[in-house]
Symmetry: C2
Subunit: 272 residues, 2 copies
């Protein structure tokens, strides 16, 4: 086999709903977020096992993608994004694996088919609900309907901006999305309804903050940081699902934080 | 008003169908093509009138977009792409105008809504059938169902490649798509069916050449160039609708032509 490398942008969700379904191509979430030029590279080499930033690692979503594509490879995942902190690294690793495996093994699948495989793997591993479809698209993705391409419907907020982010701790996606999610889904539905009425960044940030407060997902540390950004005249909210903050422009550094800065990803996931 | 600038990739269609409908959001085409990192920038300034590469110009699709958005502006369109040669400059100008107008006038529309306005304008001006939805997406877009986002369905060929192109003459989109298009649509349907069965670049190029031959759209000059590329071991076909040739990698220069080279556009249309 030859090598292949894919790049997948990071993805931060501002608000979301939980849409369960026995069919993983129909399961997922509505919501909205931002894709980051900081992302994940995935390289497939001969061998087996998964390596994340140089260490052997168990990434269930990646294993599920290889299994679905009946492929065996050594998967090298590299990222500067914070782990388990709401940046969609799991979904990115799954999608990058699907793209690279298609190239290496000549599976001859379309982009929608590869996104479907990776989305299903992320759902079944309970590591993400809507990262994969957003990461395949780029920009500021709005998930109007949940699910893989055959069922999901995407739109976008027309904007190009710099963003900043800061991880303050870890939060497991699985614990939240496997519990009672009715209140989350109701708050997510209201946030999406406000954003659809006026799909601007201002509405997105405002709706995201409301969602974080109403669902009780906002942690004290994140609340303090978001408030500090607002007091410095900026716009920030919580990265779902992680104990992390994201802000427009230089919102975090203006408030005195030592944050990472990057552009919104104009491109979706792609082979290199 | 403040200024705003949008960038829209060029788009070459390899094959297509003609799907007429009284509703311009349902009209369009099925088919497949490649978006180019060489594209069109559109800047909106105070004033009125349209300027293309420094000269006053009548671009009906641009006028229709401004009209639909009830906006008045001086539209400055700049591109290095060949004009009336199958590179989707008209659709790009329309889509760039929609994105920039939304930013300048705070219309608060979503990306799908702006794509819909530009698609409708390109259809009604009879300058394009599927360029706008492809240019909004980037990559190698496959148009599975015709129309604007509410009706159209897109997929993509998972590949990242360099391409070359060469304009050999001009060809009017309007004359071809306003005539009898049954044979074109039947050939386009067959080409799409082959590509869906195996969505690879090899199938795309092969299906595009078959389409160009079967429809009789292939001109003697283009045929000669495509053959010369094949004899040099490359892959080329005709850019629909223009008297132009596009090739994978360095296919045209390997065959001795002085062609433009650029990457496939990873990003879709976006504000700058």
């Amino acid at each position: 086999m030859t090598d292949a490398t894919a790049f997948v942008p990071g993805h931060v969700t501002g608000f979301f709903t939980v849409n369960r379904d026995e069919d993983p191509t129909k399961a997922g979430s509505r919501g909205a977020g931002v894709t980051l030029a900081d992302g994940v590279t995935v390289r497939l080499e001969p061998g087996d096992g998964v390596e994340l930033n140089g260490e052997t690692c168990d990434l269930e979503a990646v294993a599920r993608v290889l299994d679905a594509l009946r492929s065996t490879a050594h998967v090298v995942v590299e990222t500067d994004l914070p782990l388990s902190a709401g940046f969609g690294v799991s979904g990115a690793a799954a999608l990058g694996t699907a793209l690279a495996a298609d190239a290496v093994f000549d599976h001859g699948l379309s982009e929608n088919e590869l996104v479907t495989v990776a989305h299903g793997a992320d759902i079944q591993a309970e590591t993400g609900l809507g990262d994969v479809v957003a990461q395949a698209r780029g920009g500021f993705p709005v998930r109007l309907e949940p699910g893989a391409p055959a069922h999901g419907v995407l739109d976008g907020i027309p904007a190009t901006r710099e963003v900043e982010y800061l991880a303050r701790g870890q939060l497991g996606t699985e614990e939240v999305i496997s519990g009672d999610t009715d209140a989350i889904t109701e708050a997510g539905r209201q946030a999406l309804s406000a954003l659809v009425a006026e799909p601007t960044l201002e509405t997105f940030m405002h709706a995201s903050r409301e969602f974080a407060r109403e669902t009780g997902l906002l942690t004290p540390e994140v609340r303090e940081t978001v408030q500090a950004v607002a007091e410095a005249g900026g716009e920030a909210s919580m990265a779902m699902l992680g104990e992390s903050v994201f802000a427009l422009d230089t919102g975090l550094s203006d408030a005195g934080y030592d944050a990472e800065r990057c552009a919104v990803s104009l491109a979706g996931a792609h082979l290199r």
